[in-house]
């Protein structure tokens, strides 16, 4: 490690952090047992210790996540001055301690080896040369002093003080304008709300208050507005033991992760969301069930009978769902995602609002008590004049910060060619993205985790960013750069007069003092949510709702473009964790694909992974075909965010850049870019290609079906109603006579043999006799017995836990080729199973990690005791004792053990993120989930210091800590009062493969299936 540090560029060596080898990263198990190592390491103390840093003890800083506009609160865990783990800020009203997968991955943005390591200037030959900050800032000032034309400052969506500073700066410069470009800025949503409620804002969507949620394309569990918060509030009503209410019906042509959690999926034609919503509203009104106005809109033309054809859903289905919606009020209908990205996006939003209104959701499930402030953003259409000005050559200097228009704008808008006409282009980008590659001067900003700042989430919720560590590279906070520039230009008045960005921020927060300190400690200032109202404005009668005309060849297939859950608008694409994290529904890794219905695949003569080209009038997109059961046969779907041509070689050319090949069509009302706008043709390119994905592999025998093995079990609501309790729901689900239906009995030929060769006896029944594993006597003196409960009724398959686990436990990422070979290292995977009963597709997500069996098959077969059962019920794995026979994995029924087939690298400085408390495994050893044993040790350490036992809820695993849906509970099974002990006996409780008597320490609670009454 010490040598690695010394390899770092100069600025790093200036950092005085204690560099202790044992503590720092490279704890290679491969080193074996050197009996007494020759002293070859240095231990370098601080010269003067920074306050509140004790080497070996973690320090936490409250900050804010900037991976999407939701602005969740963070607690950044640092060790020896390095951020090593992100955890949600429990006090932050948006996320209450949880984070999503993208939030967890921010660390790899911070330590991204491809980041701009210093200011750079373009040379005559087009290459970049590293320069000093002095030179860079001097150059910037010169150019700003004599721009030779107007100045454009392109920024991403910003709120709070940073936005104010930008505006002040632009204002001070005179002939300058600030252009704001955020790929998913929900323009249509705000415009729709302006029309419907007279407020161009994003209201509070309270899923916990909604009896019935109809979502029209809004993927609120993945990317829509504030996924972490919505996942929590949704689970609060729909998950856990909240059984009676909280139905979710999803209307979308392509089943999103959100859709996969719905009680019913209605596959409507793309763009017809408005019609579907109004049709149901019409039924409700017509049958006198309405609990709110229709805003003066006459709904009769939208009666199901009239629109069913266009929507592609039978009229009676719409009618049934309408009654369902009215019956389970208050009803909340939301339009977003792909619905709010068509040429009729605003209308879809208005229609959804009308449906909410008649469903009685206004004021309860939807209200303006707390609105989301996205600051000043511009719709894509509003960018056109700015680009025109560039084309006209009237722009002298172009500044770009926090946005990547060269990648995220349709190629048809010609940003790139326009930008080339600008004499001097400056990028403040953190990463070498497509836009910064066009620029003449690169002044890399600090990563948000290295920066001061603030962000406005909901009204009254201001959250602060503070640097958790010193800059990794030779970067400088952009606001500071701007302040300095303002001074040299003699424009330092008002806000720009501040000496440093930190001063400006502090001033904006009312100056230093107790209040400021309190805000820093808390992570911001959070007002309690105010109850609000929402009333439908009249005068909607003038609106005419139609399905959008799709561009492109009329014979083509409509193309649905959705925001990728992992890559989002493309900013996730340079983070190995997110690339290796399987897509939540298709489970594809490190790649880009077009989703096609299996039947359509057959017609087109395609196999999964075939390389295909999608053609539209404005471009061609080359990607791989994926047969997805959750999509309409007459639609193709692709996600955004891949196909970069910059941001670091290893992420290039994975599929195509979707935004780039779209035509420049807009939603009339709001000017938002229409992502769902075009029909496309699809042809094989004939190129050899391979997709890497987990599970469900039709060609390697893998299955997306449970084959009646009861891995992800479910139970109908009716069976849970007290009156109809069956005495024992845990009787074998395996047997042909068992409830194969709910165990998912599909697909396995052996389970569906013709009767005459069917087995004469049922499968072995489960032994209920012993609650404890037969060999557990030795553990009776131990103080704790750790166990976990996972509620499948809450888990929505978002996979935040998977990234959190990798971050906490130094799990290596292995790349596409290895995953394709079945060598992924993740300790925790979410298995996604399809169930089909009477034509209805049901998706089940089940997180599978080491089950820490009480009678573990892996333990008895290890010849060297590298894995053994510890007295506290952990199935411990001692990496440095492992010789790599791999017998344990062969004998593991759950196949949760990952073997280090090679030595896996964490390219510097990604290795700075490694958790010093966890051994980094080297080639040839087995590894697996440890129930975060280092966290257990830590909790016990604290308890010992205070001479007490570990309290229930004090010990939290990484996956549990980040779970937005609160689906995971961990604790001590010996404590009769602990939550986990109580839940283990839950009537929905079951264990995977219980009949092989492995006595797992992980209990699953069955998912509850709700049959929507007709």
């Amino acid at each position: 490690m010490s040598d690695e540090i010394n390899e770092q560029p100069l600025p790093l060596r200036r950092r005085e952090f204690l560099k202790l080898v044992g503590v720092a990263t490279a704890a290679g198990a491969g080193a074996g047992c050197l009996e007494f190592p020759p002293p070859n390491e240095l231990i370098q103390p601080y010269v003067t210790a920074p306050e509140n840093i004790i080497p070996g003890v973690a320090t936490y800083y409250a900050s804010t996540c900037r991976e999407c506009p939701a602005a969740c609160g963070l607690h950044v865990k640092t060790r020896e001055g390095r951020a090593i783990k992100l955890e949600g800020n429990p006090a932050h009203p948006v996320n209450l301690g949880s984070l999503c997968a993208r939030g967890q991955s921010a660390l790899q943005g911070l330590y991204n080896p491809d980041r701009h390591a210093s200011p750079k200037q373009r040379q005559a030959d087009g290459t970049f040369k590293e320069i000093t900050w002095e030179e860079a800032e001097k150059l910037l000032a010169e150019k700003l002093a004599a721009p030779g034309g107007a100045i454009q400052f392109w920024t991403g969506q910003e709120t709070g003080t940073r936005a104010a500073l930008y505006d002040a700066f632009v204002g001070a410069l005179g002939s300058a304008e600030r252009v704001v470009h955020e790929p998913f800025a929900w323009e249509a949503l705000r415009e729709g709300n302006r029309l419907a409620f007279g407020r161009a804002e994003i209201p509070t969507y309270d899923f916990a208050a909604a009896g019935s949620v109809f979502t029209f394309g809004a993927d609120f569990l993945e990317t829509w507005i504030s996924p972490v918060e919505y996942a929590r509030t949704f689970a609060a009503r729909h998950g856990g033991d909240k059984l009676e209410l909280g139905r979710l019906i999803t209307f979308e042509p392509r089943l999103s992760l959100t859709g996969s959690n719905a009680d019913e999926w209605v596959a409507i034609k793309p763009g017809t969301e408005a019609l579907a919503a109004l049709a149901m509203a019409q039924v409700i009104v017509a049958e006198g069930l309405a609990r709110g106005s229709t805003g003066g809109l006459d709904l009769t033309p939208y009666a199901p009978a009239n629109v069913a054809e266009q929507v592609g859903v039978p009229a009676d289905v719409l009618g049934r769902l309408a009654r369902e919606f009215a019956a389970n009020g208050p009803g909340l209908a939301i339009a977003g995602g792909i619905a709010a990205q068509s040429a009729r996006a605003t209308h879809a939003v208005v229609a959804a609002n009308i449906l909410t209104s008649v469903g009685g959701g206004l004021g309860t499930a939807l209200h303006f008590g707390r609105t989301l402030d996205l600051g000043r953003t511009q719709s894509t259409r509003e960018l056109v004049p700015a680009i025109e000005r560039m084309n006209g050559g009237t722009v002298g200097v172009l500044l770009v910060h926090g946005t990547n228009p060269a990648y995220s704008l349709p190629g048809a808008l010609g940003f790139e060619t326009a930008a080339k006409k600008v004499a001097f282009k400056v990028s403040f980008s953190i990463d070498p993205d497509e836009t910064s590659q066009l620029c003449d001067l690169i002044l890399p900003d600090n990563h948000p985790l290295e920066s001061w700042g603030d962000a406005q989430a909901w009204t009254g919720v201001r959250s602060l960013l503070q640097p958790a560590m010193r800059p990794v590279f030779r970067t400088k906070s952009t606001p500071d750069v701007l302040l300095a520039a303002a001074k040299t230009l003699g424009k330092a008045q008002g806000m720009l007069a501040a000496a440093t960005w930190r001063d400006a921020l502090t001033a904006a927060w009312g100056g230093p003092g107790a209040a400021w300190d309190a805000a820093l400690a808390a992570g911001g200032s959070f007002a309690a949510p105010a109850p609000g109202t929402a009333t439908l404005a009249g005068g909607l009668g003038s609106l005419a709702f139609t399905a959008p005309e799709l561009g492109g060849d009329a014979a083509g297939t409509p193309l649905v473009v959705y925001a990728s859950p992992n890559m989002y608008d493309g900013r996730g694409a340079n983070k190995p964790w997110l690339q290796e994290l399987p897509d939540p529904v298709t489970k594809v890794v490190w790649d880009h694909w077009v989703e096609i219905h299996p039947d359509t695949m057959k017609q087109l003569g395609l196999k999964r992974g075939d390389h295909v080209a999608l053609k539209t009038p404005t471009g061609t997109l080359e990607t791989a075909a994926y047969d997805y059961i959750g999509i309409r046969p007459d639609v193709f779907a692709v996600g955004t965010g891949q196909g970069h041509t910059a941001v670091g070689g290893r992420y290039w050319k994975r599929g195509g850049n979707v935004a780039g090949f779209l035509p420049a069509t807009y939603d009339e009302a709001s000017g938002a870019l229409a992502y769902v706008a075009v029909r496309t043709s699809l042809n094989k390119t004939g190129k050899k290609y391979k997709l890497a994905y987990l599970g469900g592999d039709p060609y390697t025998g893998g299955q997306s079906r449970q084959m009646g093995r009861g891995i992800a079990q479910a139970i109908p609501l009716t069976e849970l109603r007290p009156t109809e309790h069956t005495e024992d729901k845990r009787e074998s689900h395996m047997s042909e006579h068992g409830d194969v239906e709910h165990a998912g009995g599909h697909g396995d030929p052996m389970l569906h043999l013709p009767g005459f060769i069917g087995s004469p006896v049922p499968a072995d029944p489960i032994a209920h006799a012993a609650k404890e594993a037969p060999n557990s006597a030795y553990a009776k003196h131990a103080k704790y017995k750790w166990g976990m409960v996972i509620d499948l009724n809450s888990c929505n398959g978002c996979q935040a836990c998977v990234v959190a686990c990798s971050a906490e436990n130094n799990v290596a990422f292995v790349g596409k080729e290895q995953v394709d070979k079945g060598r992924e290292m993740m300790w925790l995977r979410i298995e996604r199973y399809y169930e089909e009963h009477d034509g209805k597709l049901e998706v089940r997500h089940v997180p599978v990690m080491c089950q820490h069996c009480g009678a573990a098959p892996c333990e008895s077969v290890c010849p060297v005791y590298a894995t053994y059962h510890n007295p506290e019920g952990l199935n411990a794995m001692i990496y440095n004792r492992c010789v790599g026979t791999r017998y344990c994995s062969n004998n593991c029924p759950y196949k949760v053990r990952a073997f280090n087939w090679f030595h896996y690298d964490f390219p510097v400085p990604l290795n700075w993120q490694l958790n010093p408390d966890v051994t980094v495994r080297d080639k040839g050893v087995m590894e697996k989930c440890s129930f975060c044993v280092q966290r257990i040790r830590d909790a016990k350490d604290h308890a010992k210091d205070e001479a007490r036992d570990v309290r229930d809820g004090e010990m939290v695993t990484a996956c549990q800590q980040t779970c937005p849906a609160r689906a995971i509970v961990f604790g001590d099974l010996k404590d009769p009062e602990s939550r986990v002990t109580k839940l283990v006996e839950h009537e929905r409780g079951y264990k995977i493969f219980e009949e092989i008597n492995t006595y797992p320490a992980v209990t699953y609670l069955k998912k509850v299936t709700r049959d929507v009454p007709v």
Partner: protein, 188 residues
């Protein structure tokens, strides 16, 4: 057959070791080992534990401030040294300022960390928590030897598993500080 012999031999050896462990009276601090098991390394500054900890009788925790707070005993910050050496510039009985203290002062003034060489280098797959051991009343000398008599520090205990588990075996039934032989205590 060979294996058979190995088994028997091994059995005897373990019997022997365990007996030996049982003999000692104070199980937590069974005695101070003195024999050097590794080289004495010359450090960038000729700091003498003999002088500070021995002659001047300074408490270990005075410089190794976090030994009771953290898993890592921590090497004192340069500023900690300067706390005294701002005033103490000469070795006792000397007229000339000590060149070693001059070195220290230079490090401090240049704001450069002192590149001490790590003598007690724990194998990378093992964890050792100083806090827990100090709180359990294990004397520093039990592992580090008669440090207060060492002008130049040398290791007296190999940092090998045997040296850990001997003590952990002996104290399993210890009423105040029962030890644990669970592997995950040291290997995480």
């Amino acid at each position: 057959m060979l294996l058979g012999f190995a088994v028997v031999a091994g059995g005897l050896l373990f019997a022997a070791t365990s007996l030996q462990a049982a003999k000692t009276t104070d199980t937590i601090n069974p005695g101070i080992p003195t024999k050097a098991v590794g080289p004495a390394i010359t450090q960038p500054i000729a700091y003498s534990h003999q002088l500070h900890a021995g002659k001047l009788g300074m408490d270990c925790g005075y410089c190794h401030t976090n030994v009771g707070k953290s898993a890592i005993a921590n090497i004192p910050n340069v500023s900690t040294c300067m706390g005294c050496h701002n005033y103490v510039k000469k070795a006792a009985g000397q007229t000339q300022p000590s060149p070693e203290i001059a070195k220290l002062t230079k490090y401090y003034e240049d704001g450069v960390s002192i590149p001490w060489v790590n003598i007690h280098q724990l194998p990378e797959h093992a964890n050792f928590n100083h806090k827990r051991h100090v709180k359990a009343g294990v004397a520093c000398q039990t592992c580090h030897g008669p440090i207060q008599t060492m002008p130049v520090v040398y290791p007296v205990k190999k940092l090998i598993m045997a040296n850990c588990i001997d003590c952990h075996k002996a104290n399993r039934e210890n009423v105040n500080t029962p030890t644990n032989l669970d592997c995950v205590v040291c290997h995480k």
